[in-house]
């Protein structure tokens, strides 16, 4: 608990005079603290080195996060965006960055807008995590897709976005296209293949070392015994440049569609300092719309592959394909919000490597109610149930099908 206090105090020690921002200065700062109570059941969590899909092991009081989201403006066209997250666990520094980048926003001279980001930032995937601190607006724990994005993906490079203002194309249609080139992030895929999909609210920071389950093949004398018992997802290993392209179409505030092709172009045989490079590719499709009755609908779909190691018998020694979808319905009423999400996820495997059986299949239900007393204080109640069948759990003599559940009450403070 001492560390929580240090984290909160350290974050609070940042200039309070700038709190909540004011328009006489060139920057905005948002602070957030989230904590509460929970009751959980299931396997010991992956965050403590086992296989559980959820974040917490113990019932009772829990400190979810503290964050600082800073946006500075330099001159008319340069923005700096940095996000610090503080956690009470042993996976990295107590406080560390999740994002840090510079954005150049030249003044538009026509209906075409250009934006250039350079630094470390989330790829444009999540439609849930739209608030300061990459906070999920709808639920406490993000969908399987966006939980994986939070665990293992960060674009460390540059992104160019070109967009057309809506009125230039007949009032309501807006188009935008992004292309990004990035280095690092080569181990991305390790956790997805070896641990599987998860549903939680933890975002990896740059210093984090995320534990792997005690897999047979990473034990001494086995095929991947160079692998540390943890993953450092944002390391550069092979010196290759990856890319993604993303397109978006928006029709007023009625419909949004985004589609991405992502390929980290990592060398699947590269390894350095106990971390392997995984060739991770996927296609992502996201859509959002408002249904009659002002019910918001968000859906995302991701399908891809991640492979590592040399090719044996026609497949890489770890050769997995993955597929996940979710549908979320949400409705806001003044300060209240009710949301429900269904996740489905799957991993299949092309290799026949012994003692490395990674396929899984599962689904999750998440129900959330939140109420904001003001802009600064909100509460949330969330029920989450995730049922998974995962082949590799047989190595630990536990049932390979399990349902894990969590109920939590969270106090959310914003400054």
């Amino acid at each position: 608990m001492g560390r929580i206090l240090i984290a909160v105090l350290a974050l609070a020690g940042l200039p309070w005079s700038a709190m909540a921002a004011d328009n006489t200065s060139g920057y905005e700062i948002r602070y957030g603290v989230e904590f509460g109570f929970l009751k959980t059941s299931g396997y010991p969590s992956w965050t403590t080195g086992f296989v559980g899909k959820l974040r917490y092991d113990n019932d009772g009081a829990v400190f979810n996060r503290a964050f600082v989201d800073y946006r500075g403006r330099f001159g008319d066209t340069i923005n700096v965006h940095m996000v610090l997250e503080g956690y009470d666990d042993d996976l990295g520094n107590t406080i560390d960055f999740t994002e840090a980048y510079v954005e150049w926003r030249p003044m538009p001279k026509s209906a075409t807008r250009y934006r250039v980001k350079v630094g470390a930032f989330y790829p444009r995937i999540s439609l849930e995590n739209v608030d300061p601190g990459w906070s999920n607006r709808y639920t406490q724990n993000s969908s399987a897709i966006n939980t994986w994005v939070a665990e293992e993906l960060r674009t460390i490079g540059a992104e160019l976005t070109v967009s057309r203002r809506p009125e230039s194309l007949g009032g309501a249609h807006a188009f935008s296209a992004s292309v990004a080139a990035f280095v690092a992030n080569d181990p991305a895929g390790s956790l997805l293949a070896w641990k599987g999909w998860s549903v939680h609210d933890r975002q990896s920071r740059f210093s984090d070392k995320l534990p792997l389950p005690p897999l047979p093949q990473i034990q001494p004398g086995m095929m991947f015994d160079d692998q540390n018992p943890y993953v450092e997802p944002f390391k550069e290993i092979d010196g290759r440049v990856g890319y993604y392209v993303n397109g978006e179409w928006r029709f007023g505030k009625k419909f949004l569609l985004r589609a991405m092709h992502y390929d980290n172009r990592a060398d699947p045989r590269a390894e350095e300092n106990g971390q392997y490079a995984w060739t991770t590719k996927f296609e992502h499709l996201g859509m959002q719309t408002t249904l009659p009755g002002d019910i918001g609908l968000i859906a995302q779909w991701m399908i891809g592959s991640t492979v590592m190691g040399p090719v044996m018998n026609g497949a890489h020694v770890v050769d997995t394909e993955y597929d996940a979808q979710f549908v979320l319905l949400t409705r806001a009423f003044k300060g209240h919000r009710v949301s429900a999400r269904y996740d489905h996820f799957e991993i299949t495997q092309n290799d026949s490597t012994e003692d490395d059986n990674n396929p899984e299949k599962g689904h999750a239900w998440t129900l959330n109610y939140q109420y904001s007393f003001s802009d600064r204080i909100g509460i949330a109640a969330e029920w989450l149930s995730i049922k998974t069948h995962r082949c590799s759990w047989e190595y630990y003599d536990i049932p390979t099908t399990a349902t894990e559940r969590q109920v939590q009450l969270t106090l959310k403070l914003r400054f």
Binding site: A20, A21, D22, N23, T24, S25, G26, E28, D69, R73, D76, T77, N79, R105, M107, P108, K109, S110, A111, R113, V130, D131, P132, R137, S163, R165, P166, E167, G170, G171, A172, R250, F251, G252, K253, K254, L256, Q288, T290, D294, I295, G296, L297, I298, T330, R331, A332, R337
Partner: protein
């Protein structure tokens, strides 16, 4: 100017000097927030007064109002009621300007010397959108929730050219004109044939359309 005669209803001379304009959509529903302005031909005291000053505020990361109509030559001030900074720009050919709204001081008002439609954006918040409609007349207003507006006109004019404009209207690129010749103005209806574009919504919705 595009001349397009849609449906015109005469309800005889109603109130001398008052022109009643109604805009209805293709679904027969009233269309609110449509700019209506009148050119009075042959009137002795056209545009006599000094153009009235106007305000385009920024509130909750939205321009307020979404559509502002002013007379040519009017000075529009841009206060910022948000606690966050904005950076307003227009790239309209004849009324181009940039206004950083984070210096803590109210910038000088912008004087709009050319008539036409000025599209505003914020370079910090890409979702912000507003229009300033600069018209060469002092007879203008916007339709109410019933799609109606009442305009005081000079009944000595020989004819009235009544224009409507809205970013939602798809007929004739959003700009429709009807001319009334003759003595007393009355009531006229613009019945649109094409479906409207979706309205710009600036209230909180169930889903977020603009990322932080």
């Amino acid at each position: 100017m595009l001349l397009l005669l849609v449906t015109q209803l005469w309800v005889g001379p109603v109130l001398a000097g008052m022109l009643h304009v109604r805009v209805v959509g293709s679904d027969a529903q009233p269309v609110p927030n449509v700019v209506v302005f009148v050119q009075q031909n042959g009137s002795a005291n056209i545009n006599a007064g000094k153009p009235a000053a106007a305000i385009m505020d920024q509130r909750d990361k939205q321009f307020a109002p979404h559509i502002l109509v002013v007379q040519k030559g009017a000075a529009v001030s841009f206060p910022n009621s948000d606690v966050i900074a904005h950076h307003v720009y227009s790239f309209s050919k004849l009324n181009r300007f940039i206004l950083p709204l984070y210096k803590g001081t109210l910038p000088d008002a912008v004087v709009f010397e050319h008539d036409g439609i000025v599209t505003l954006g914020c370079n910090i918040h890409d979702g912000m959108l507003a229009y300033i409609v600069v018209v060469d007349t002092d007879v203008f207003a916007k339709t109410n929730d019933d799609g109606r507006v009442e305009l005081a006109v000079d009944d000595s004019a020989s004819s009235y050219e009544v224009s409507i404009w809205s970013p939602r209207i798809r007929d004739a690129k959003g700009h429709l004109v009807q001319t009334l010749s003759g003595d007393a103005p009355g009531e006229m209806t613009f019945a649109l044939e094409k479906k409207l574009r979706p309205a710009h919504i600036d209230r909180l919705e169930s889903v977020a359309w603009d990322e932080y």
